[in-house]
Subunit: 139 residues, 4 copies
Amino acid sequence: MSESIPHSVETEVHVRYAETDAMGVVHHAAYLVYFEEGRSHFMRTMGSNYADIEASGFRLPVTEAHLRYSYGVAYGDMVNIRTWLEESRSRQLTFAYELISVKTGKPLVRGYTKHVWTDTRGKVTRAPRIWTELLARLP
Amino acid sequence: MSESIPHSVETEVHVRYAETDAMGVVHHAAYLVYFEEGRSHFMRTMGSNYADIEASGFRLPVTEAHLRYSYGVAYGDMVNIRTWLEESRSRQLTFAYELISVKTGKPLVRGYTKHVWTDTRGKVTRAPRIWTELLARLP
Amino acid sequence: MSESIPHSVETEVHVRYAETDAMGVVHHAAYLVYFEEGRSHFMRTMGSNYADIEASGFRLPVTEAHLRYSYGVAYGDMVNIRTWLEESRSRQLTFAYELISVKTGKPLVRGYTKHVWTDTRGKVTRAPRIWTELLARLP
Amino acid sequence: MSESIPHSVETEVHVRYAETDAMGVVHHAAYLVYFEEGRSHFMRTMGSNYADIEASGFRLPVTEAHLRYSYGVAYGDMVNIRTWLEESRSRQLTFAYELISVKTGKPLVRGYTKHVWTDTRGKVTRAPRIWTELLARLP
């Protein structure tokens, strides 16, 4: 990973009532969906998006995920998702995430997801050219 | 619907913590997933299952859903899903559902889902032969 | 319902990958969550929000839901949720929804949800005063 | 962790259609819900369950989660969840999980979740006595 990569994107989402659980705060599995929203937004701001990448015959499945939980967040609040590319190699990627409460500024969750590039049948492959070109333009 | 159809199947599922919300009971959207589980189980007990039907080139998307909610149900309880085929025509189906709490016997939700048979591109079609044959064998 | 009520609010949400299913489009249960997002947004634009209403000791559980599905929508698209108050009585409410694809303008789902006002123990009650006051100010 | 703990419990669940995504397999976030089902089942087989524990004033929120994904699993298959207690200290627990496809035997996901015992207001506390007593009886 070059020094030029730690470019991060912020995404704000409302907590959905459906995402809360009987403890009154967002269920711990919902944070993987927030990570995914952060990642989707990051890719859109790069000038492409994951939908286009899928349409061109590539997939980017998750191979590993890690989450460390600090505070809970309730309905009525918003979540700020900061997403950055921790590492981009020819066949795999690592995204990292830091989520905070918009209302209180408290840290909610930190974590990362690792991914491999595959073709439509799941065979590991090199990153699509569109991705490497867009990546080269990141600040 | 002929008189021979009201054959029903019961499915019991544990309430999942992830399905509850900040009101302390199962979120109202989760009942459509319970309906789907009842429907899946109903089809398996007929001697086939929806996975096979999809593999043979058919889809059965939902075209309408209705739910009427009575009592809530909390984590620690189980849900009994009674599913039956309300109507089966050449191109469409209606499943009906009655959910009760296993612990208290209280009614939770009643409802139905309507479906059409389509091919893989979404074109409405006749029911697959495997379905009509299995249907003919229902008690 | 008086003539002054058909005030509607539009909410746009990105389709989340987690909301799609093996048919390649948004799973039918996810639309109840979109309805909820539309309703949440509607209440916020009224000048309050459902989190405040809960904090003041009221609940607004869903007692009935109906959905009619037209077209599917895939990841990469956005959903425009139009929400309006179909009816507001002293103890119950009906919200109605019309969802279209932002990309194609195609209708996705239409439906409604009915609700009752309850206290924190689930006893049906009159609408909180904050609600009736805000309602009176609707255009 | 003493040598006596690696007692494991197996739970089998049907893949739900709602849990799949546009890649045709179970969405990666759904595995945290499978972990939770394994953990719930594990606790029930110990002679208690998490619902009772919550009723007695304790909570067991997740503080960390890790998942390593191998193969995907489609609707029509079942998932076998093997759950065991990796570590139990006075104030925290680690559960570990190994998920395989019932149809093919292929490994799907391995991972763990860490938890702390808290009271109802979120203050970290010692494990409830019911838990330490039940734990002592584990084979």
